[in-house]
């Protein structure tokens, strides 16, 4: 849960946030490229969820398992829901939605890592 893949999810989340911020400032609608990036971020969280749950089942380490699984299963919903909510918007604020998504996802990864560590 603390390997390079988790780090990559944090980086991609922040990239989506910066990208969306640029569109927001430039008064640009969310385009196909930013949509693909957001869905890519969602896909990474699906992989993180599968990997995390497999890792959890293979260990008897002491951690809050219900919380851990809850975070992992629900987190992909945020970029998927955000993508759908942003793509139906005709103003710059679609990018505002993806800015929020891009900032929240890295925080979630850190929180998931804390639960994994037993904090």
């Amino acid at each position: 849960m603390t390997g390079p893949f988790s780090t990559a999810t944090i980086i991609v989340g922040l990239l989506v946030a910066v990208w969306a911020l640029v569109y927001l400032v430039m008064n640009k609608r969310v385009d196909r490229y930013l949509q693909v990036a957001t869905l890519g971020l969602a896909a990474m969280f699906v992989i993180l969820a599968v990997g995390g749950i497999v890792q959890m089942m293979g260990t008897d380490k002491d951690l809050a398992r219900a919380e851990f699984v809850g975070y992992l299963l629900l987190s992909p919903l945020i970029p998927v829901g955000g993508w759908w909510w942003a793509k139906n918007d005709e103003t710059r604020w679609g990018a505002g939605v993806l800015l929020v998504v891009g900032l929240v996802m890295p925080v979630l990864v850190v929180r998931i890592q804390q639960v994994w560590a037993g904090v």
Partner: protein
């Protein structure tokens, strides 16, 4: 769609507001389900309050996202309750910490969530006024 008013709560900046509310709704609900099913006896007051906060966030999210005349009224009520909740629980958690052995989303004015729970309701009320 005669029920729709001119300015919609779910357009423009409202779009961002809805997504923030939605994240709080999902997070608070998930947390609350785990707390109540797994360890309600630890801190029943705090955990029931968490569940109540979750319901408030769900109602506010749906009301803001729908953006018609009825939902605007619902949004005012839900966000008013949210505002009162974060102020009262925030103050109580500092004055009588013993009553809250476990944190709720509104404890210490939502400081565990960058004080976003305290910022959200005035922002949402401002937005409701602006789109009236």
């Amino acid at each position: 769609m005669s029920e729709h008013v001119k300015a919609r709560t779910n357009q423009g900046f409202g779009r961002v507001l809805v997504v923030v509310y939605a994240i709080f709704a999902v997070g608070a609900t998930a947390r609350s389900v785990i707390q109540i099913t797994q360890r309600l006896d630890e801190a029943p007051v705090a955990y029931v309050l968490s569940a109540f906060a979750a319901v408030v966030y769900i109602v506010a999210t749906i009301a803001l996202a729908r953006g018609n005349r009825t939902s605007r009224k619902v949004a005012y009520v839900a966000i008013g309750i949210e505002m009162a909740g974060v102020i009262v629980i925030g103050a109580l958690s500092l004055l009588v910490p013993d009553a809250f052995p476990r944190a709720t989303v509104w404890s210490t004015f939502g400081s565990g969530y960058l004080c976003i729970p305290l910022i959200l309701p005035p922002l949402a009320l401002w937005w409701l006024r602006r789109t009236e």
